[in-house]
Each structure stands twice: as structure tokens, then as C-alpha cells.
């Protein structure tokens, strides 16, 4: 059913969670690629046990570049759609299936998951996410419920989705794609997904939160 969709999973030091993710994903999807950003732990060794392809970056290039590599691969291999999934077991596979089914129906644009019940997140993360969404709505005049959600699916032929315009290595690849998709008037659909209590964002802190707000304004203009 999902033969035309490539599932791209991004990892960096995810040895504890990657097996959990791949166990679930490989049962449902045939075409899976893991983009590893030169993990220093045993992530790659664990991934090699599964029937998936691995793109190995020799240095940590950040999530933005990993997404680009995955998309390049999808285009070379002529997949019609690509789904992005975090390697830290934050998302349910049933949610991924919902997103994939939706893109097969509408065939274009971008489908973004949004965490419906934020009360399961810790207070700081919930506050940050909610403030960011209000801030985003004010500047972009569009209601996107969760601009940072890592679970998303889109058509590989979609030219309106661009990112890494700034060329900077940062933690906000997902937010940048959302901002650019809104700016380029790309068709965006949103599907609620289950909020899974997750670890703190890797490297995310108050200062980076402020930096993200600045970048959201920067991408707007």
C-alpha cells in the first residue's frame, strides 16, 4: 500500500531508541532509510540488523542536511512521497500510517502532524510550544498547530517546500520547512497525533528558543 512512500528516519546517538522505532516501522513499511549523522554510539550497528538503507554522513551536519540527503535519495530512486520521522521513538506508527494514507489521497502538498494533547509534555516544553504557535500565527497569519512537529509527509515533486535557505546548521529544520511552506503558499494539511512524553529536545534550551523566535521572523521576511 505504501510502496511509493519512502520513510526517512534521522538519527544521532539513538542507540537506546532506534531498535524500538525500526521494529515498528519495518513491520508496516518496506522502503525505509535511516540518515545517520555520524553517531558516536552503536546506532549504526543496530540499524544494520534491519532491512533498511543507511545514509551515513561522516560529520554531524544537523537535521536540515539529513532531510536534504533523504529527499535527494527519494528523488534519485523516484519515490513519489517522503515521510520524515524522528529516531527517538516520539511518534506512533499508527499516526505515521494516517499521514501516509492522507498523502496518498490528496497526492500533493505537505501533511504535518500536530501534538493534540500538550498537557503530557513538561511545563517548559508546553509553554514554549504554545507560545511559538501564537507567535507564528501572528507573523504568518496562518494557524499551524505545531510548527516543530517532526512527523510529516510530503510529495517529492513539491517544489514549494524549501529549507536551509539560511545555510546555518541549527536545530529548527522542521520549523523552517513549515515557515517556507506557508510563505510559498503550499497546501498544508494537519492531522492530530498522539503526544508522547519525550526527552527534552536535544540541545534545546531557553536561549535556543529565543533564537528560534528570531529565525521564525527572519524566514517570514
Amino acid at each position: 500500500m505504501f510502496n511509493s512512500i519512502l520513510i526517512a528516519i534521522f538519527t544521532y546517538n539513538e542507540e537506546k531508541k532506534i531498535s524500538l522505532v525500526l521494529n515498528k516501522v519495518c513491520k508496516k513499511f518496506k522502503n525505509v532509510i535511516v540518515v545517520d549523522n555520524n553517531s558516536e554510539d552503536k546506532t549504526r550497528e543496530k540499524v544494520q540488523k534491519y532491512p533498511v538503507k543507511i545514509i551515513h554522513h561522516k560529520f554531524n551536519l544537523g537535521k536540515s542536511s539529513s532531510m536534504k540527503s533523504a529527499l535527494d535519495y527519494a528523488r534519485i530512486k523516484k519515490f513519489k512521497y517522503i515521510a520524515f520521522l524522528d529516531g527517538d521513538d516520539q511518534h506512533r506508527i499508527s499516526d505515521l500510517e494516517n499521514l501516509c494514507s492522507k498523502i496518498l489521497k490528496i497526492k500533493k502538498g505537505i501533511i504535518i502532524g500536530y501534538r493534540k494533547n500538550l498537557s503530557k509534555l513538561n511545563f517548559t516544553k508546553r509553554l514554549g510550544t504554545e507560545f511559538l504557535n501564537i507567535f507564528f500565527s501572528f507573523f504568518y497569519q496562518k494557524k499551524i498547530f505545531d510548527i516543530q512537529c517532526g512527523l510529516r509527509v510530503f510529495s517529492t515533486k513539491e517544489k514549494k517546500i524549501k529549507w536551509c535557505s539560511s545555510g546555518l546548521k541549527h536545530y529548527f529544520a522542521d520549523a523552517e520547512i513549515t515557515c517556507n511552506a506557508v510563505m510559498n503558499k503550499c497546501k498544508i494539511s494537519q492531522i492530530p497525533i498522539k503526544t508522547v512524553r519525550s526527552e527534552d529536545y536535544k540541545g534545546m534550551n531557553f536561549l535556543l528558543g529565543l533564537y528560534l523566535l528570531f529565525m521564525v521572523v527572519y524566514w517570514r521576511f
Binding site: 554522513h57 561522516k58 560529520f59 542536511s65 540527503s69 535527494d72 535519495y73 545555510g167
Partner: protein, 116 residues
């Protein structure tokens, strides 16, 4: 007077730190011998001027006049800003090139593996 002492101390501390950074980069072979010597001489010069600021004051006041000294100071700041900007651009260009090379290599590897 206290401010002058504070600024001199800060300047000396900063220069010593820069000498340390230069030595580390020389050991890592980022800098060659000539660059290592030139940069060390430059930072030693800064230390000398921090200890004896009068040296440069006297030289400029005797040789030229205060207006020229003022213009030279402004030009110095502009020069530093241009240098910083050029460095910033160069770093960005190199960063993008490295990014492209690493991604291309990773993709080439996986495509070759599949085609085998």
C-alpha cells in the same frame, strides 16, 4: 588611571589567550611556521603596546598630529569590521562546500551499494 590599567590588563590577558590559541592551531597543523611566527609577533606587539601605550601616542603625536591619529583609529576599526565580514563569508562558503561534499559522498556510497 584605573581604567587604563584595567584595559591594559584585559588586553594582555586577551593577547596571551590568542598566543595560546595560535600555538594549539600550530600543533594541529592549521597554521604553518610562517603564519605561526607572524601571528605570535602580532600578539606580542599588542602586549608591548598594552604595557607601553605611550610609545604609539608619542610616535603619532610627534610625527603627525592628533587629527591624523584619529583618522587612523577610525580606519583601523573599519578594517577590522571588513576583515570580520570577509571571514564570516569565507566560513559560510566553506561550510556549504563541506556540507555538499559530505552529503554527495554519503549518497554516492549508498547508490553504489544498491547498484552492486
Amino acid at each position: 588611571m584605573l581604567i587604563k590599567i584595567f584595559l591594559s590588563t584585559l588586553s594582555i590577558f586577551f593577547s596571551l589567550l590568542m598566543i595560546y590559541v595560535t600555538v594549539i592551531n600550530f600543533k594541529k597543523k592549521t597554521l604553518n611556521k610562517v603564519e605561526f611566527l607572524m601571528w605570535n609577533l602580532f600578539w606580542l606587539g599588542v602586549i608591548f603596546l598594552s604595557i607601553r601605550p605611550k610609545f604609539i601616542d608619542d610616535y603619532f603625536l610627534k610625527t603627525y598630529n592628533t587629527d591624523l591619529f584619529y583618522i587612523i583609529s577610525i580606519l583601523g576599526i573599519v578594517f577590522l569590521l571588513i576583515l570580520s565580514y570577509l571571514n564570516f563569508l569565507k566560513i559560510k562558503i566553506i561550510e556549504q562546500k563541506i556540507n555538499t561534499i559530505i552529503r554527495a559522498e554519503a549518497l554516492k556510497k549508498i547508490i553504489n551499494k544498491i547498484n552492486k
